[in-house]
């Protein structure tokens, strides 16, 4: 195989921006239909009322909150890859950083929709804004839900700006190869970037600060999400382990989603020389690590329930393993901690089909983890007379399906209209001799 060069990197990435085939637009149209179906379900809920969802006493938090936490989690690995691994100078993150960052932006946007959906009367969302009003009501910043508003808004703003800043030199590269209207658009989008030394001098410094700021942010955001639960005195929720447990779980699911997206993209766009097997293998190794942390957290929860001698906690965790939602618990444990251990076998983590399959299983497992925690907690609380079960309705499934379609729809549009691999970072990697050229 021929060695990677600057020109080849450009050619490979810019080739993906050529007008798409009909099959691409068919897929985009199908996903758009899914998005519209989800939107119709939400519209129906707005029209009829939140009662069309299955949330009711005692389970007031159902799929909307599960999906909220799931999508925030998916968003986390983008920042891990682009910021934390950047600070660690891990060269292997460069080929996948752009797509992971994009995944972050879209996932946070979708996560941000769910609290709105869950509100029911979504038009009253402005109650959360601090402004003088005749009701004398101001947001209560003692509430973890208000922490969440602040944290998620910050995360969305920062990850979008981080993504755009990283994209700037590549937008200029596209501009320099484009013609006509396209050139004009990219000229404005690239803000007149020329890659002159003074721009790079400030850019590299600014990017480093970006990464340094995004690192504590990513940890704080999922910690704040976990406090939505941990600050409530609900058995199974009220625990100090939740913040690190949620952060590890978020990265675990996000890395799995990176594989789910990268593997088909690598195949379709012919990125095999850029997103090498070594890159995918490194993601798989990180999944083993995060999977072990998550497994350790599952075990610790049980240990503390036993060690505390608290009968409510003991019952809550007994019921988790043998109660009505035990299927979710076993899916969670098997998919999140046991199956990723298969990546300890080198042959498995270097087989694309198995990587793809396991990544999907981890995604399923992580969705169920949120189901087990969120629904399981409130369904089986302190008082036996208040125990109850919950099942999502068709409307909830429709909205959830729409959210997945929206995610893939946005990602598909991105992949074909903007550089999905950072050409700049790849060239830098190649110059340093860290790229796998053959």
């Amino acid at each position: 195989m021929s060695a990677l060069t600057f020109a080849k990197i450009d050619q490979t990435v810019l080739d993906t921006l050529h007008p798409a085939k009909r099959s691409y637009w068919i897929l985009v149209a199908l996903l758009l239909l899914g998005v519209l179906a989800g939107a119709a379900c939400w519209g129906y809920q707005i029209l009829v009322g939140i009662g069309v969802g299955g949330q009711n006493n005692p389970v007031a938090w159902g799929t909307y909150l599960i999906n909220f936490v799931f999508w925030v989690g998916i968003a986390h690995s983008g920042t891990l890859i682009s910021a934390i691994l950047h600070l660690f100078r891990a060269g292997w993150r460069n080929p996948i950083a752009r797509a992971a960052e994009t995944m972050t932006v879209f996932a946070v946007c979708i996560a941000g929709l769910f609290p709105f959906i869950h509100l029911g009367r979504v038009w009253q969302v402005y109650y959360m804004l601090p402004y003088p009003n005749q009701r004398y009501l101001w947001p209560n910043f003692l509430s973890p839900l208000m922490f969440d508003v602040v944290a998620i808004s910050t995360y969305l703003t920062v990850s979008t700006l981080f993504w755009y800043t990283g994209l700037l030199p590549d937008l200029a590269a596209v501009r320099d190869k484009a013609q006509g209207v396209r050139k004009k658009i990219f000229t404005y989008l690239s803000l007149g970037w020329t890659g002159q030394h003074d721009q790079w001098r400030h850019y590299t410094r600014g990017y480093l600060f970006f990464a340094a700021l995004a690192t504590p942010l990513v940890i704080s955001v999922h910690s704040v999400v976990s406090w939505d639960f941990a600050l409530g005195i609900v058995p199974g929720w009220h625990t100090t382990i939740f913040a690190p447990y949620f952060v590890a779980g978020a990265i675990h699911s996000g890395l799995a989603m990176v594989l789910t997206l990268m593997i088909p993209m690598r195949k379709v766009f012919g990125y095999e020389k850029i997103i090498t097997m070594d890159v995918l293998e490194n993601v798989a190794k990180t999944i083993v690590f995060t999977g072990l942390i998550v497994g350790f957290a599952y075990g610790t929860e049980y240990f503390i329930a036993w060690y505390s001698h608290n009968i409510v906690e003991l019952e809550s965790f007994r019921w988790r393993a043998v109660g009505d939602y035990r299927f979710g618990f076993y899916i969670m444990v098997i998919c999140n901690t046991l199956i990723p251990l298969l990546f300890l076998i080198r042959k498995i983590r270097r087989t694309v089909v198995l990587l793809f399959g396991i990544s999907i299983l981890v995604n399923i497992g992580m969705w169920y983890e949120r189901f087990v925690i969120i629904v399981g907690g409130v369904a089986h609380g302190f008082s036996p007379h208040a125990w109850g079960l919950y099942a999502p309705t068709v409307i909830e499934y429709g909205i959830m399906f729409g959210s997945f379609c929206l995610f893939f729809f946005l990602f598909l549009l991105f992949a074909k209209h903007l550089p999905s691999i950072s050409m700049t970072e790849m060239k830098e990697t190649l110059e340093k001799g860290e790229a796998h050229a053959t």
């Binding site: 101001w138 910043f141 200029a172 590269a173 030394h197 003074d198 942010l217 704080s220």
Partner: protein
Amino acid sequence: MQPKKYIMGLFRNEDQVVSAVHALEHSPYKIQRVNTPFPSHKILDALKLKKSNVGYFTLAGGIFGFFAGFGLAIFCATKWNLIVSGKPVISLIPFFIVGFEFTIMFAVFGNILGLLALGGLPSFKGLKYYDPRCSADHFGILASCVAEQEDGLKSFFQTQGGEVRVFD
């Protein structure tokens, strides 16, 4: 005053650029800028540039954000007329979370502002003396000279192993 000529030397190799930059220091020509497809630390070192001041913008944004976040939470808390049991009206620990998130958000705003202000963005003037190959696989050194030194500058770049582009 004689009109200036702008000439760009285009190189394919980072090390050639470094040696050309060193040679230009002892020549009558003036380096205007060096365009590169990626941040080259070798070239930035050769140009002996000072450390960027973007950090001051970031710091200022962060400090502002911290007080803005804390201030907002305290302001909202004091606006409540309903005091709940013995809880403190101004609770530092939960308000710290708001302060922290605002610190990050405004530090990033400061960072972006610094990046744009110091990097001279957005500006489309730089595209006048720019070769599109500089975003692909070439490194360009833009130097200026008076009209009668034009040939000298051209041959200087050629001697250094570069391709020459003259801007009108």
